[in-house]
């Protein structure tokens, strides 16, 4: 119970207000709310665990905005879910995996999410991220660990035609990542007009 109280009291280092958009670029940078996240490591994963598919290709995300699972490597997943679910999910996954050796670690306190959307969101992200974020190389439903400026992030593109990205970074990097994103979005409109 103490754990649950502790979790809901968790401070959001960036607050919840969207970054201002003085340049009128339409890039919305909004820190995500409190969410639970788990790192799952397992070799030879089956099809699914606790309703979360484990058979997706590497660097893809499954699920919806409230409950998603991103495959970051051959044996590594990052799971995001509602805080209310956080107390039950690890046990449910462990029960489904049974005897198979695995590790599921609560990293909710480590991760901070920032939602980036708008038609020019990819341009703003490319200010710090060296990946090709074009439709062919990084379509909707992609997710990968990469770099943003000097910080390591997990970049997720939610399913759907409109570009909606989630940047997951470590807590101590979050002010840096958020500041760099806000600054990058200032130059985006200019780039598009050129």
């Amino acid at each position: 119970m103490l754990e649950a109280l502790y979790r809901t009291a968790r401070a959001l280092p960036l607050g919840r207000a969207p970054a201002s958009d003085p340049a009128g670029t339409g890039v919305v940078i909004k820190p995500a709310g409190a969410e639970a996240r788990f790192a799952l490591r397992i070799r030879d994963a089956g099809a699914s665990a606790a309703g979360l598919p484990l058979d997706g290709p590497i660097n893809s995300v499954r699920g919806d905005d409230r409950r998603w699972i991103a495959r970051l490597g051959p044996d590594e997943w990052l799971i995001g879910c509602d805080e209310s679910e956080a107390d039950h999910l690890p046990a449910a996954i462990a029960a489904d995996l049974g005897e198979r050796a695995h590790a599921i670690v609560d990293v909710s306190h480590r991760n901070v999410g920032i939602d980036v959307s708008g038609p020019l969101a990819a341009v703003a992200l490319n200010a710090g991220c060296p990946l090709d974020l074009g439709e062919a190389a990084f379509p909707a439903g992609s997710a990968t660990r990469t770099l943003f400026g000097k910080a390591e992030i997990v970049l997720i593109r939610h399913p759907g035609a409109a570009p909606r990205y989630r940047v997951e970074c470590w807590r101590s990097f979050s002010t840096y990542v958020h500041g760099l994103l806000a600054e990058a979005s200032l130059g985006v409109g200019e780039t598009a007009r050129r």
Binding site: L131, T144, R145
Partner: protein
Amino acid sequence: MLLIACPYCGNRPETEFRCGGQAHIARPSDPGSLSDEQWAEHLFVRSNPRGVHAERWNHVHGCGRWFNARRDTVSDRFLETYKMGETPQSQKSTSTDSTSTQAEARA
């Protein structure tokens, strides 16, 4: 920007990777029988060729996996990348000393 083909993730920017030095260094099967010089040779002495070099690379800011690569040290061009334990394409026909080739031969 230099792109490196991670065997798991495909072409990714060089900044996501970290080099782990020379690849395919077999640990001596019986270290106790080696002299200090032989052990030091195994631990510290590496080749530094001008030309094609087999190296270990880690996709540290990506999938986190180690893999092997053959890289030309003159042009900095990656000739091929392959997973740990696999035989490089260029040596499949000639080399017989790697374990996977032996396993294939036995099968």
